[in-house]
Symmetry: C2
């Protein structure tokens, strides 16, 4: 009985909040939140220069997306612009800077979802598309499909006029060194890009190795939400492994109420259907974005998984829980102020 009494109070309070925030939304409230991966980011090992580089990269992403929304473009435009800058920046494991597979290739995945229409697009296992997030958007906008994979996805992107690059474009010295070290150590070992436990087995991993997937969630002036996620997956991955990033519902999801982008040990985010898990808790249990996001990360943690997510609701409230030691993330609102956090 006490529990039900609580439900009444919560519903009532949320009702009040919604009205207050709806008024704020009329004052052109808009928000963009990005992440650059969750993982084992040791406070005592990250140098001031490294921290500065991540802050600069996150700030660049936020400002690129912010300009889109400020100019009246959509949350989808903001998400694509923000992620594009991160895909082009070799410090993230997405686009240029992606980790190498066991076969010495860079296989990229990305997805996007439009909260207003619940249309979605994704590409998986692509090796020649400069900006996979743009290809995901093309799949959503210009095909009848949600997900295209491999060579087929590359052909589609080329037909759509997207920039195609030689596979060597994605080469970065630090990722190449890392895969060579791993292959030497144990050819069968799969280093999970974000996994503390497995990473700790590798004495010579650097903080740079652990930077993961990138993602963005945005609320535009029209009150519409969008979410995008892009990744190079796991270092030393084999057998055409696809993680959660291109899976609608797992690594990415958006509807009228919330937009979610995840990063972490992909298999656990797939098994818990993490992004839609957050949305369901909000939609069906009337939980706040904060509660819903934390409950989902707790569910992943209980299962043994690690990672984090960013979630943004229709009123501009956001959450960014993680169960790793850190998650690179930042946010910008209509006043243009950038916030950046690692821990």
């Amino acid at each position: 009985m006490i529990q039900y009494a609580c439900v009444f109070i919560v519903v009532f309070t949320t009702g009040l909040c919604s009205r207050v925030q709806a008024q704020e939304a009329k004052k052109e409230k808009y928000v963009l939140v990005v992440h650059g991966g969750a993982g084992a980011i040791a406070r005592d090992k990250i140098t001031p220069d490294q921290e500065k580089a991540y802050k600069a990269a996150v700030t660049q992403a936020l400002q690129a997306g912010y300009q889109q929304i400020k100019q009246g473009k959509t949350s989808l435009d903001a998400v694509v612009s923000a992620i594009e800058t991160m895909e082009n920046n070799p410090i993230f494991n997405a686009g240029k800077g992606a980790v190498f597979t066991n076969e010495g290739k860079n296989e990229l995945d990305a997805s996007i979802m439009d909260g207003a229409t619940r249309k979605a697009g994704a590409v998986a296992g692509v090796t020649t598309i400069k900006n996979p997030i743009k290809a995901a958007r093309m799949v959503m906008d210009k095909s009848n499909h949600v997900m295209l994979a491999g060579k087929g996805a590359e052909e589609f992107a080329e037909q759509m006029g997207l920039e195609i690059v030689p596979a060597s474009y994605f080469f970065t010295e630090h990722r190449w060194k890392r895969i060579q070290e791993l292959l030497k150590e144990e050819s069968n070992k799969i280093e999970l890009d974000h996994d503390n436990k497995q990473s700790s087995l590798l004495s010579n991993t650097t903080d740079r190795d652990k930077i993961g997937t990138v993602g963005a969630v945005a609320l535009d002036k029209q009150g519409n939400l969008a979410a995008g996620t892009s990744t190079g997956g796991m270092t030393n991955k084999k057998f055409g492994r696809i993680g959660d990033s291109p899976i609608i519902g797992s690594g990415n999801y958006a509807n009228h109420e919330v937009a979610v982008s995840c990063t972490g040990w992909g298999e656990f985010f797939m098994r818990t259907v993490a992004a839609y898990n957050v949305a369901s808790r909000m939609n069906l249990l009337n939980k706040s974005v904060n509660e819903a996001s934390e409950d989902t990360i707790d569910e992943i943690g209980d299962m043994g998984g690690t990672g984090g997510l960013i979630a943004l609701d229709k009123n501009g409230n956001y959450a960014a829980p993680y169960n790793t030691s850190g998650m690179y993330r930042g946010m910008i609102t209509e006043n243009g102020t950038v916030e950046f956090y690692i821990y």
Copy 2:
């Protein structure tokens, strides 16, 4: 206030039901439900011989899975056995009998999930694995991954000792004729395997063309649930399109409470995260398997999507809603009686 009063009643009633059904479960209650695709199955066009063939195929699948459970094996074993028979039967669009892509290939997808552990496995876009459902199970049991795609998945299956066949094994005359007709009619037309609207554009489609994805959900003597799904996707699909069948949360999902397998216009099942959608409604809203399944199909219908699903709860209650003209489906319980339905 009235709404909340209702909640109390529902919770109370469900509580009583659960106890009654839990006692039944102790009497070795077990159930297997399979589907052979939802689509435009016209009552006046299906011949008695065709109906007989589907009934025989569904019965074979049910009996194969039933034997597993009867012998004390798991719901996972039952799901694999049932789907294996359907993959080997050319009347279904899965395994042998899969539809052709625009390039004249058979690209297969499959997934499986263990409700007891929420472990999952999937393969996508494979062309040489005789039984993709077995490969999905190997991914779950023998790798750290959930999803493997393309050549990598095939290599993995081969290393695991699964039967590899030449691509020509999947050739069937009726599917080949169909793709040739389609390519002639319009090289760019994508015929959705289950879509009434698109199929109606094609005057010469046969009922056989519309038989879709296969799936199975099982409850074993230990009270554990499992779900599996296998497909050849859409006739004339292009660009490495992946549908909902290999996507955990969309085409397939299982937990302690419910197991779900979907069939239909995959893109809509991906956008609504259909299989997990059913599970969420049950878990978070305490809805029955019937209500939750129907609500999900309604959500897909509201969005413009077509298809169906089978869902089985931990007490052996099942639902099989669809918004197409028919869905091949059948069920068997511990007494060994087979039921078969199309409409």
